[in-house]
């Protein structure tokens, strides 16, 4: 090999590496925290029901059916983008939609839901954020798909879009329903 071509080869190699980095980052968010909880049992919890605080609701009541746990808060801007999609598509998901009100002022959350509507079948309130830490929540919105055995099957960070529902959620939900039949 001609030694003159060596620097060129090195340059092309570096270029390929940078190109790969650009291509890779299109599909991978380096800031996204991978969840070690996928395919592991969801943490057990019993949290106050949002509109009826003395009552609690949690994994015990949810056992035996798949559900979607959606972490939201009135202080979360991205949740406003997600909310109309949940309002429109929530009932068509075919699973219970559990709202997880994360580190929120109850009065603020109430106002938020009155303004934008309530897409949830039930809402639990985690004011301290302790249960959210058990779920490995880093912010809102985040969405967990849990199966009938209480195992977390899928996690989605950032606002749900119609594409995410069509390509990620609905196929997984259909599979869960088939498995439980």
């Amino acid at each position: 090999m001609n030694a003159r071509l060596l620097p060129l080869a090195g340059f092309v190699l570096v270029l390929a590496l940078l190109g790969f980095g650009i291509w890779w980052s299109q599909y991978h968010d380096p800031r996204e925290v991978p969840s070690p909880l996928i395919d592991k049992p969801a943490p057990t919890f019993a949290l106050p029901v949002f509109d009826d605080p003395p009552k609690t609701f949690g994994t015990k009541e949810l056992a035996g059916e798949p559900y979607l746990l959606n972490v939201f808060a009135s202080w979360c801007f991205a949740c406003r983008d997600e909310h109309p999609i949940l309002m429109r598509e929530g009932k068509r998901l075919g699973v219970k939609l559990v709202g997880f009100n994360y580190k929120d002022e109850p009065a603020d959350a109430k106002r938020w839901l009155a303004q934008f509507g309530n897409p949830y079948d039930i809402i639990v309130a985690d004011v301290s954020g302790d249960v959210a830490i058990d779920f490995g929540v880093t912010g809102a919105p985040e969405t967990f798909l849990v199966d009938a055995h209480g195992v977390i099957r899928y996690k989605y960070i950032s606002p749900i879009t119609p594409e995410v529902i069509a390509t990620e959620l609905l196929p997984r939900i259909a599979k869960l329903k088939e498995a439980s039949r």
Binding site: N2, R4, V33, G129, I133, D134
Partner: protein, 159 residues
Amino acid sequence: MRGCDRLLSSRSWTLVLILALCASVLSASLAFAIDPLPFKDHTEELRFQALTKQLRCLVCQNESLADSNAPLAADLRRDVFEQMQAGKSDAEIKEWLTARYSDFVLYDPPLHGGTLLLWFGPMIVVLAGAAAIFVIVRRRSRAIAAPNARPAGDAEDDW
């Protein structure tokens, strides 16, 4: 009195206000950063500081748990503190965190299959460079030692 009036002209008042505002903002952020925890003694505090410096804030990912003002970081600091009080070791606390947030929460990545390239990649690059230098130097010193045996056209390549 005239001097005093001049001293507190509207412009100076603005300045005083700005300074007061800066001071309050600064002290507010400091108050957030140092959520006071009831440490037993100084050793425990040092251990807490050392441990939280090795942990990544998951919201502001360029900050350690020790430095971050994010509410989640404050919650996690409190959890770390409570577990220290419960007698857990540093390794156990790290395990508790990685069970929830994966290795991402550790600034020091553990050695396993997925991190082999990260750990040994730089060493491989340095070794490859050293090997290349060794080969080039030896080839040249041979060429100098035996100038007559040098093939024609090779002179071009010596740049």
